[in-house]
Symmetry: C2
Subunit: 499 residues, 2 copies
Amino acid sequence: MSLFETAELGHKVDDATYARREKKLRADLLDAQYELKELGAFPVVVLINGLDGAGKGETVNLLNEWMDPRHIEVHAFPEANEEEKQRPPMWRFWRALPPKGKIGILFGNWYTDAIVRRATRKDRKAEFGQHIVNIRRFERMLADEGVLILKYWFHLSQKGQEKRLRKLAANPRTAWRVTAHDWKLFKRYDSFVTTSEQALRETDAAHAQWTIIDGSDDNHRSLAVGEHLLAAMQARIKQHKTARKTAVKPVTGKPARKPGDDGRNVLNSLDMSQTLSDRKYARELEKWQGQLNLLSRHPKFREHSAVLVFEGMDAAGKGGAIRRVTAALDARQYHSIPIAAPTEEERAQPYLWRFWRHIPGHGQIVIFDRSWYGRVLVERVEGFCSEADWMRAYGEINDFERQLVDSGAIISKFWLSVSAEEQLRRFQEREQTRFKRFKITPEDWRNRDRWPLYETAVCDMVEKTSTDIAPWHLIAADDKQYARIAILRTLCENIEAAL
Amino acid sequence: MSLFETAELGHKVDDATYARREKKLRADLLDAQYELKELGAFPVVVLINGLDGAGKGETVNLLNEWMDPRHIEVHAFPEANEEEKQRPPMWRFWRALPPKGKIGILFGNWYTDAIVRRATRKDRKAEFGQHIVNIRRFERMLADEGVLILKYWFHLSQKGQEKRLRKLAANPRTAWRVTAHDWKLFKRYDSFVTTSEQALRETDAAHAQWTIIDGSDDNHRSLAVGEHLLAAMQARIKQHKTARKTAVKPVTGKPARKPGDDGRNVLNSLDMSQTLSDRKYARELEKWQGQLNLLSRHPKFREHSAVLVFEGMDAAGKGGAIRRVTAALDARQYHSIPIAAPTEEERAQPYLWRFWRHIPGHGQIVIFDRSWYGRVLVERVEGFCSEADWMRAYGEINDFERQLVDSGAIISKFWLSVSAEEQLRRFQEREQTRFKRFKITPEDWRNRDRWPLYETAVCDMVEKTSTDIAPWHLIAADDKQYARIAILRTLCENIEAAL
């Protein structure tokens, strides 16, 4: 039995019933919308998909009419523009996500392309399967971030669709809505429906359920969507109001030893004694900066981008290392992004949103001074997020980086490892030096006390996110000169390998 | 005597002097940069212009090397993309403005196109003159908003430029930097220099001064820019630290009568008795919504955009009117922007920045529910900004709207005029009605007490910003049905006239 069969039963609602139910519905929807806004706790993402002529556009317009359009954002996604093509396909959807307290209606979305390309046989099974996997991951992440995801599929029988399209085409006021593309897709009705059914089945989950809407009767369709949306919003609002906030506590004490743990880890196995003489440093610096400059202007680099991630304990030398990299680059080609506390707009979005907004187009280089790894480092150790949040971050980060690489980005991640003794020496130096007094705060001293906890977090991070496509480079950074050269060399090697 | 003559005297700085001065300079620059950031009171906009080969790129790279590149944003502006072409030319510069506390280096900027187009005779005198006027206005506005504007012009004699370009072209590491376009411009050296001189003379102002840099000697050039930038930043920082904050007080009491004022104004002259029967309303609503729908899908509308502004006292019926407009539109085509308190990112930018970020591309409609007029209404009356700020806002707003219109936008501005008695009735109703309880706050009652002050502010606003290209439409709104139809009809007429 087809998934869509119940949507072909010919549901109907008479006008009198409609008028009565609509009146109550719109008042309740408006109420729920304002409560959502007042609460400001989560966004609502409404996906509108399905067959042409099944009433998708009418429904979106109706939702805007019923509710306050000032707090609804509608996004449609025509063909990708140049800026979008240079970035991962999900970039434009990230940009369209509504902030907490608002409703975002995505009309045509991450399903559209995947289904159309498969139904018209532009994609093979394997590619389609990959799209589905990506979608599942993305929706899982959204749901974990608290987004209420509502997915509507508008269905019509083949006969029903033909009738609809003909009717629309016959009326001069609606004829514009039926394009040649629609008729082309209509000819592939079976293929389109079969592909859609597969997509729906494989992406139907408790946290992102599909609701199939019979599109044949206007009254029924409108009420079905509206009442479902209302119930879902009310349920989630209620849940938020009754949920008791369990405060997240910072981790304290020493991390537990895992069985079989001999105390050796990737950090303390690093040879920290490596140094570089001034003369050798000057020579190597010129060599690798020259090399990096050439690579950044390589014609093939115009089809790539570079994403650099710098992480390390306080005073590990991130800033200095970054400046040795940027000195080799044309200032028009790179952006350096210092990651501090998120802004108001950023806090109203899923965690990775504030990094997505900075990812480079082709030929560009973006340098993150601290990064999305904050979640599994400082946020984990300081208890700024729940354990569940940082635990799932590993997978989300790997997924994010894979998307970057797929779109042509060359990722280089550096952990600058400084010993506790050397850090202490640098802190003291900073307190005494005029130019460096800005760099040391009481917080730095506080973080120092949690050294063992940070060390465990770093080891876990390296273990879980050092992937083939974006491995971590652990840099012994007690000697700044050695570290800077190691970074420049690694960066050149990474770019060279990709070109 | 040419403006540039002193820049052809062959200034030179020997290496030893350079090394000594550079050491101090970079430490001081870094200090100033951190103070700028700590203070967070104003942004620095550095314009880099001048002849090719005169060391513009090298200087930008050097500034990034000397200071902390994490707090410098460098923007270059290659040819406008599709998104940019559909909006006013200044849009892409607005997007590149640095927030308070940061330095933005605009490499190629609002001068580049204007000068090159005139030097190559693509623009006539009149067009060039218009560009200059626009630039003066824009820089005046930036300065008034507290932006520290530093404009550097890199000069070379004709011989000097030729020598430079040849030298760059001869070295395989720098040859890429000399393009056919550079040589083409070099052939027009005289024309380019004469045009530039005119542009510089006409845009040199105390609040946005030009500094001409002799580009022939690397050492001299680097120090000249660096030391000038440092002095300017230090001076402004000092000024901010010593300036005593004079708190802005809200306006109170009754507004003063102007001489010859008989008490009649545009608001109290409006015939508030106009109404519309239910039957007539239903008929007219269908007619004008149908008309608006047709116009929004008109092929010619794809070369235009529509900007709608709704202002009015509380409970004047803005929301209801907006919903009657959006009901006629495809939800994919419009965005409705409710203007509330600015976000953190918006507060770090010039006042109009948060409106620029929402202006529509071609074929799109943006509806502002309250708008940039907040400055001359609520901010004036409540004393949220200084008198100087709201006084200059009239001119800035007219300029902003002119730019919108020039880029194809059709602007419709509505003031919904409600009488004090009708407002009171609606407030009371809101307090009693379930769906409307969200709509009434203590602030609404407070604003009501300031009615005469608001009335004066509105009359001033209409007088000063009702321009030919973007006139105000005063709508008698005591009867909601009458107001909605008047708005729909006016909107249709405006769009029709433009198409």
